[in-house]
Each structure stands twice: as C-alpha cells, then as structure tokens.
Subunit: 341 residues, 2 copies
C-alpha cells in the first residue's frame, strides 16, 4: 500500500534518484550495470511512476484534452473512437469532458484542462467561434472541430455542410424527385444553418424553386416524425433532405405509419451516416462523413502543432461529405450511375 516512489527505487538500487530516473526512462548515459540494478529494484518494489509528478516536472503530460458536445449520439462515440485510436497509437492519454451545457460551461471545461494536457481538441457547434476562441488558453495548442474559428489562432477542421447539402439535393433530383423539402436542424447550430443554406441554393438552381418547404427541427427523432406529417399534409413533396440522420430516421418511421412508400412516393436522405443508418428499413441514404477518420486526423494535426508550436497558422481543413446511396432514395431499377447516360 505504502506508495513506492522513485526514491525508494534509488535507495534500493544504491544510486541517486537522478540515476534511477535516467535508467527508468531509458537514457543512454547509464551503465548497463546500474541500469539493471535500478530496473530490478523497480520490479522488486513493484514501482509505478507517478505520471502526474512527471508531467509537472517535465512540462509535458502526454495527454490530450477533448471537449465534446453531448448532443451527438452516435456521432459522439464514433469521433471518440477515432480520436482514441490515433492518440493510443502515439501513447497519449485522453482527458475527456463532454458538455451538457452552454458556452460558459464549455469555457470552464476548457479551463479545467490547464496544466493537465498538452493540447486541446474542441468541438462545439453551438457556440460562436469568437467566444470559443476567447476561452482557449493562449499558450495551449488546440484544434477546433466543426466550427470555423474566426481569428484562425488555432487549427480547425470543418465539415463542408454546404457542399454536403448540395450533394443531397443533387442526388434526390438525379433520382427523379421534383419537389423537395428540408427538415432543418436547430437554428442556433451553425452546421444546421449551413445545411439549410446549401439546400436552398441547390433547389433554386436545380429546380428553380425559390421557396421550398423547410420544416424546423431539432436533430431529434421526434422532430423528424413531426416533419414527416407536415410534409405529407402539404402534399406534392417527393423528396426529403433531413439535416441529420436521426431526423431522417424519425421521418422514415412516420412515413411508414402513414402508409407512404419510400422511396417510390417520397425519397429520404439524411446527413452524417451514423451506424444506425444501414439498419433501418429501407436503409437510409445519407451524406456520409467519415467521423472516426475526422477524429484521427484532428489528433494528427494537434500533435503536429504540439511538436512544432511555430507551425503554420491554421488553414481550416475541409471534410466533404460523400453520398452514400441506399434504399431510401433508390428509385431507379438499375443501380447504374444516372450521370453516365
């Protein structure tokens, strides 16, 4: 029980703590003999280094701080998986803090990481970039996920929501839909706003429709179902683009209950490609983000920044969602590419 420290090891091995430290850390300037003595002592005493102390003295914690919003369901676990994978490979630990709250709480969470992490991964779509930027401690390397940070003081990785939304609309049109509707996400969510904007632009351009039906939503399943009812009530609509997969799935369920055939009568496409999308019936078409990959890439960039703090100041990096066409939009008998014709 009596926690054994490096001093105990040193004493037992009959060397100074300095030598013990060197031996333990594999420095070259140690006689094989001493090294062995130290290592043996460590083993005998079942010594485990105190990483907290090491961080303090070495000025490096080998830990990455991760601040995520709670709102993401499967998105959350996927991105963590990617982050964890990349961090793990590099022998880095993760200090996690997923947010249930507002900007203030996020700022607090970020502050709470001071002195415990070498860098920060922050994802915070509901908070204005400037606010976020202000909360980020000056000296600490950080990578911001999802939102574009104005000042560009930090690296950022953003999902090209606009392009994704355009892609979704294009796909629906290619599949023969002529009256599109959109189920929007929360108004205060920047990603959601961009998706709506992309949708409106694409619909105007492709179909000449300047006032498409846009039903408000909140990224939740229930909102998707409610939207489906509104859409059916309105009539005419033969293609729906939901701002995320969860709402698309809610929509699918409600359409089925109402006896509307998907994709024949109404085609539905989502956004994200969460794992569930493949399992619903019909399988959900969606604009897929390789979420885990995004997480991995973020770690890579963060590590690069940590290793070279003077590195080039942060071109935002874009992730363009890719169309994943599944049953919920496949209206053509053949699966061939329509564009090829």
């Amino acid at each position: 029980m009596a926690t054994v420290t490096i001093r105990d090891v040193a004493r037992q091995a009959q060397v100074s703590v300095a030598s013990a430290s060197r031996a333990l850390n594999g420095h070259r300037s140690v006689t094989p003999a001493t090294r062995k003595r130290v290592l043996d002592a460590a083993r005998d005493l079942d010594y485990v280094p105190h990483l907290g102390a090491r961080s303090l003295s070495a000025g490096r914690s080998n830990t990455l701080g991760v601040v995520l919003p709670d709102l993401f369901g499967e998105f959350f676990s996927e991105i963590i998986r990617g982050i964890d994978y990349a961090a793990h490979r590099r022998g880095l630990q993760l200090l996690l803090s997923n947010m249930h709250g507002d900007a203030e709480e996020t700022a607090a969470a970020i502050r709470a990481m001071r002195g415990r992490v070498d860098g920060l991964l922050v994802m915070s779509p509901e908070i204005a970039p400037e606010v976020l930027n202000r909360s980020l401690p000056g000296g600490l390397p950080a990578v911001v996920l999802g939102s574009r940070v104005g000042g560009a003081r930090h690296a950022s990785m953003v999902i090209d929501n606009h392009a994704g939304a355009v892609g979704a609309a294009e796909h629906l049109v290619a599949e023969g839909c002529r009256r599109l509707a959109h189920i929007a996400g929360p108004a205060q969510n920047a990603d959601a706003r961009e998706r709506e904007r992309g949708f409106r632009e694409a619909v105007a351009r492709l179909l000449g429709d300047d006032a498409p039906l846009v039903v408000p939503g909140d990224f939740g399943e229930g909102a998707g179902a409610a939207a489906a009812r509104a859409i059916v009530a309105k009539g005419e609509i033969d293609g729906v683009f939901a701002a995320n997969d969860i709402m698309a799935i809610g929509c699918l369920g409600a359409l089925r209950e109402m006896g509307v055939k998907v994709p024949e009568e109404i085609a539905v496409i989502g956004f994200d490609d969460v794992p569930i999308a493949r399992y619903v019936t019909p399988a959900l078409s969606t604009m897929g983000i390789r979420i885990a990959e995004l997480g991995e890439r973020a770690v890579e960039r963060l590590v690069a920044t940590i290793d070279d703090p003077a590195s080039p100041p942060a071109e935002p990096e874009y992730f363009v969602p890719q169309l994943v066409a599944r049953g919920s939009t496949r209206r053509h008998a053949a699966a061939g590419k329509p564009e090829a014709a």
Copy 2:
C-alpha cells in the same frame, strides 16, 4: 502567452502565495479585503490554476480513470455517457483509455493512470479477474465493471448474464416457441459464457431439451447472419436467442433475405438493448441493461470508496437485465401479458 502562475497573482495582489492560494480556494481565514485583492488580480491577469500542480501537492486529482474495452460499439458510448454524467455532476474529470488489446495492454493502461487519478473504473470482460486484480495498484480505489473479481479487493458491478439468458428463453417459450437455438458470443468472453449457460439451463428446464442448437459467434453482425443460415439449415428452430443485439440484428437481416418470417416462423431476441435495437424491422426484442445507469452507479460507488477508503469491502452488485419485448418476438395478436391468462 507567458503562463501566469499563482506567484504572479500574489505579487500583483501584494500578498504571499499562501494567502493567494487560500483566497483562491475560498478558505475562510482570509480578510474580505485581501480576498478581493487576490480575486481581482486573478481576473486581471486571466489566471487559470494549474490543476496538475494542484493535484501533486494536494494529493488529489479530482479525476477518475476509465479503462474500457473497445469491443462494445454502442455499449461503449452509452456507458461513457453514464459515467460522464455522474462524474460531471461531481466536478470530476475523466481520464479515458479504451483498450484495443490484451491483458498486458490493459495492465499498462491501468498503470499509466497512477498519479493522475483518484480512482479507477475498469471494464474488462476478456481478462481473467485474477489477472485484473493483480494489475490494480494497491492503494488505488477501483470499481470493476462486468466481471466478478475473485479476491474482492475491489468493488464490482456485474451484469447478471445468467438471469438475463433465462429471461430470454422464458420469454420465447411464453411466446410459443418450442425449439430454441442460441447464437453464442466469443468463448473467451465471460459474459458470453454465462449467457450460454443460462440459456442451456432454461431450455433444459422449460422444454426438456438437453442439447439445444448452439451456434458459435463473436458478437459481430456477420456471425449473426452466418448463424441464421445454420439455424435455417438445421430446420425446426422457431426461436433464437442471440448473445448480443448486434448478432441478433445480423440474424434478422439474414432471415429476411432467406424469406423467413420474423417472428411468425422464427422469433429472435437479443441482449443489451443498444439504441439500434428499436430501429430495425421488426424492432428487436432484447434483454435490456440500463447501460448508462450502470455507469452512473459505478461512479457513485467509486466516489464512495474514494471518500471512505475504509468502507466495507465490496459486495458485488448485480444488474438484472429486463425484458424489452418488441416486434421480433411478439407472436400473439394481442399485446396483453400471456401470464395473466
């Protein structure tokens, strides 16, 4: 950029670091005047305490270590959510390490937490309890999830896999199934073994079947599909209990492809109640564990142990899975409780 320390605050406020520390931490023995000076200085300098240093000197990190297996898909995100929620409420941070590997790696992960956490939450179904027990640092409070730790040196919370499996079999029989098969999990997984054992016992007791069909699996979707084919090939079977939901879902898909009607011809039930279960068609019946709740409860227990290290030594706490009956087993027209008749 020049990181501001408590000394800077002290100097600016014209007091000693000791007083600064006291004021900052809300100790009572500080003149309101001094306190104000210190707090103002801290604000002016934008001081953020160095939590790593604080941990070292105070001997408390306000951080919980979490070691989880990577193998759990949605299970993972749910339990993290529960843990995070409970930790967050108590102002605790989470140091995360999810394992991709073997016992050795797990041991390393656990060791790597020394000196950075006040306690440990470990879930490690693939590793023998004794090995685990040995890896756990002596002085560190810990709660083990999932496996029953032999020595009982640590608190543990276990899922009653056996009872869950029995419940699943009973439900299938109550729904009128007479020939049951089981899709088993990985042989080295303790949870999986218990589920199989429970299934065998129940089938023997309820149907007098001492050698039911048990198809091997690995908790993956593909294994579930393969098992479905084996089961259909064998014929006769009218009820399937899969050791987890993912395999059950794979099974459902394969059955549909083969044109087998679920639940009319074959009823299917899973284990876990991952979020996806509600979304497949037909919706998957399953033995549900309130995963997030389990995580929360684990934190509670861990905190209790940390606060009172001399507390009673670890009765294992059981979580009994509850039947969640959905479409994949509902063979009666009415949804009323069959037992009531």
